[in-house]
């Protein structure tokens, strides 16, 4: 989406100071316990044209329990940064017009936890690894088979790193099965083997917002006998993947937990820690010329159910790995669902909705190409037709 340059610049400064700043920056360090993500975009109150076409802002995601004095300190900090960025530009307006505090929980991954059964599924095959004798892997977990990838004449299944590989804790060659022990006592057939993943680099301690991980993805080499999920699959790489995401983009996905859902990709460039079961990892937004191509935030599209407008969750546990695509033009791929957060009203603290975090396909393509020692153009992505 077209993000004003000053919003991009302010977001970079704020993220740098809060997540990567040194102890001498006491003002920013004091905010770190309460600010858990920074992004650029909009969080539309409704699906009206007016809301969806608002100008993008710097979004600071703060703990819902932050005290008023803490919120005031955050507000003052951001206001000062924006004042400096605006400088002498008298046409820019007030700094208050360029940022928004979002009361939201920390982002958690949306792979299925042991004991959590998806309420239903209409599409999107479940997928997981088969490694019952690796005692450092959860015995029961669940994700979604996101897309098909071809590279060098080989067929692969694409999903999240934290679904298929656990950052290498499932070794290369680990069988990949569907649907898995959460739904099938016999585990289900082997459809491939883990082939590659984009390694996640762990942050040093104390946490300082480094290193920047850009994508959460892994691929499994498809067993030659398995092709049921991809009948009729079509290429989502042509035209070229959106880079960066234009406007407030209407998107859809098919996930194992929540089936087909629709949303608005209205936020980009998240700087955020994600807590996986194997540790916390920092995902950093690209800066400079590549601004706008970072992690994407999606909110569900409002629906009228029994006369009441609600905004259902775009994704839920079990949807990790689900492919998100744009509903515009030739429906190019956007990314893979990987995590979600909850938003709260800043006054009543009442729960107001969900934000799903999507790992961008551009970064996935680049990361896998690097890991597989291939040019990015060698990797093509396909998705199955929507079941609806």
């Amino acid at each position: 989406m077209p993000i004003p340059a000053l919003v991009t610049r302010a977001r970079e400064i704020i993220a740098e100071r809060i997540f990567r700043g040194g102890e001498q920056d006491t003002q920013a360090q004091a905010l770190r316990p309460r600010v858990h993500a920074v992004a650029a975009g909009i969080l539309p109150a409704d699906d009206s044209e007016q809301e969806l076409t608002r100008s993008a802002k710097v979004l600071l995601f703060v703990d819902p329990g932050a005290a008023q004095c803490e919120l005031s300190a955050i507000h003052d900090f951001v206001f000062n940064v924006l004042t400096q960025v605006i400088g002498a530009d008298t046409t820019a307006g007030s700094p208050a017009d360029y940022f928004q505090l979002v009361h939201a929980s920390r982002f958690k991954v949306s792979s299925g936890a042991a004991g959590v059964s998806p309420p239903y599924f209409r599409a999107g095959e479940a997928v997981t690894y088969f490694a019952p004798f690796r005692f450092n892997l959860p015995p029961v977990t669940l994700g979604t088979l996101g897309a098909r990838m071809t590279a060098g004449g080989d067929d692969y299944i694409l999903s999240c790193n934290h679904v298929l590989a656990h950052n290498g804790r499932a070794p290369r060659g680990t069988p990949v099965i569907t649907p898995g022990p959460m739904e099938d006592a016999t585990y289900g057939p082997v459809i491939g083997e883990l082939a590659q993943w984009v390694p996640l680099a762990a942050p040093p301690w104390p946490l300082r917002g480094t290193p920047d991980n850009l994508a959460d993805c892994a691929v499994a080499l498809v067993d030659p006998g398995y092709d049921a999920a991809f009948e009729g699959a079509f290429n989502i790489c042509a035209p070229p993947l959106y880079d960066p995401l234009p406007d407030c983009t209407p998107v859809a996905k098919v996930g194992h937990a929540t089936g087909t859902t629709y949303g608005w990709a209205s936020m980009v460039d998240f700087d955020v820690y994600i807590d996986f079961t194997f540790g916390p990892y920092f995902f950093g937004a690209p800066t400079g010329a590549t601004a706008g191509t970072g992690m994407i935030g999606v909110i569900g599209r409002r629906e009228c159910i029994d006369g009441v407008f609600v905004r259902p969750p775009f994704a839920a546990p079990g949807d990790s790995g689900a492919l998100v695509w744009s509903e515009r033009d030739d429906q190019p791929g956007i990314g893979l669902v990987m995590a979600r957060s909850y938003t709260f009203d800043e006054i009543t603290n009442r729960f107001t909705g969900y934000i799903a975090l999507v790992s961008p396909l551009t970064a996935i393509q680049a990361g896998l190409a690097d890991a597989m020692h291939r040019p990015a153009s060698d990797l093509a992505f396909y998705r199955a037709p929507s079941p609806c």
Partner: protein
């Protein structure tokens, strides 16, 4: 990525050397819970399991029979372990070092054998075995599902073998009887009354090769120092807390949330003073 692994032993156990390994027997005592895993995410150990720590370096030489460590535990060299009354058996490599923490001290003794032949003036209520590892993806506790999560290269594994609620004399008497089943030649133990105080986890005193580092705005951590003089995280001090008082602390969390008070200060709020050292500590034998 290489790093350090800290294995915390909380509660009742019997340690003995088995060549290059340490065998820890967890006695089956009614009312005890047996858990293993990451801090605050330990899960129940299935009955009668043998769990083996894998992925930790095996060139360590320290065990509980080292005199410097044996001074901080119930040392019963004339007893031997049987295969009876076991809840679980843990096999660990010999460690790089063992840190006896939260040590109760009293002269003439914190505990003694019933016949008075042995006195134990110092007892550690938590024992920390320190290892290194080269690949965190290979660290596992075989026989028990546990996902190691490294922070700054430091992984902690907690093994719990004690009650999560305060216990009285009847329970301690039963524990002593069961120890008589676990150990052949068990002499029985008597604890000094009133029980000597254990240092609080907030102010644990000597932590061997580790020291306490204050991280502004975050809390206190036990850290080590590498060859370049940089601090390396070991664990937050709150991980030292005894499982019984930790369970009470987490019940505060419910009260805080129910009464709309901030939960930030969960590890800084006052504690009520009704806990004492129990007889659930590590004993060493053959």
């Amino acid at each position: 990525m290489p790093g350090s692994l800290y294995v915390f032993l909380h509660g009742l156990g019997v340690a003995c050397d088995r060549g290059p390994y340490i065998q820890i027997v967890l006695p089956r005592v009614p009312g005890h819970c047996y858990r293993a895993g990451g801090w605050l995410s330990e899960t129940l150990i299935a009955g009668d399991r043998i769990l083996a720590l894998k992925g930790a370096t095996t060139d360590g030489k320290v065990s509980f029979s080292d005199p410097s460590i044996a001074d901080f535990m119930i040392s019963l060299p004339d007893s031997s372990v049987t295969d009876r009354a076991r809840a679980a058996t843990i096999i660990l490599p010999r460690a790089q070092t063992i840190i006896p923490a939260l040590v109760a001290r009293h002269d003439p003794h914190v505990a003694r054998t019933k016949d008075g032949s042995r006195e134990f003036p110092k007892l550690a209520t938590v024992q920390i075995l320190v290892y290194t590892y080269t690949d965190e993806n290979e660290v596992s506790l075989d026989g028990h599902y546990w996902e190691p999560a490294a922070i700054g290269g430091a992984i902690t594994l907690h093994i719990i073998s004690t009650s999560e609620t305060p216990e009285g004399q009847a329970h301690e008497d039963m524990t002593d009887d069961i120890m008589g089943e676990v150990l052949r030649g068990y002499p029985g133990l008597v604890y000094f009354s009133p029980r000597p105080q254990v240092p609080p986890w907030l102010d644990p005193g000597d932590l061997g090769p580790l020291h306490i580092s204050d991280q502004p705005g975050l809390g206190q951590y036990a850290v080590s120092t590498d060859s370049a003089g940089n601090e390396q995280l070991a664990f937050p001090l709150a991980e030292l807390e005894h499982p019984t008082s930790r369970a009470l602390r987490l019940s505060h969390l419910a009260h805080l949330e129910q009464s709309d008070r901030p939960i930030d200060s969960l590890w800084q709020d006052p504690d009520f003073l009704s806990e004492r050292i129990a007889n659930c500590v590590i004993s060493g034998t053959h």
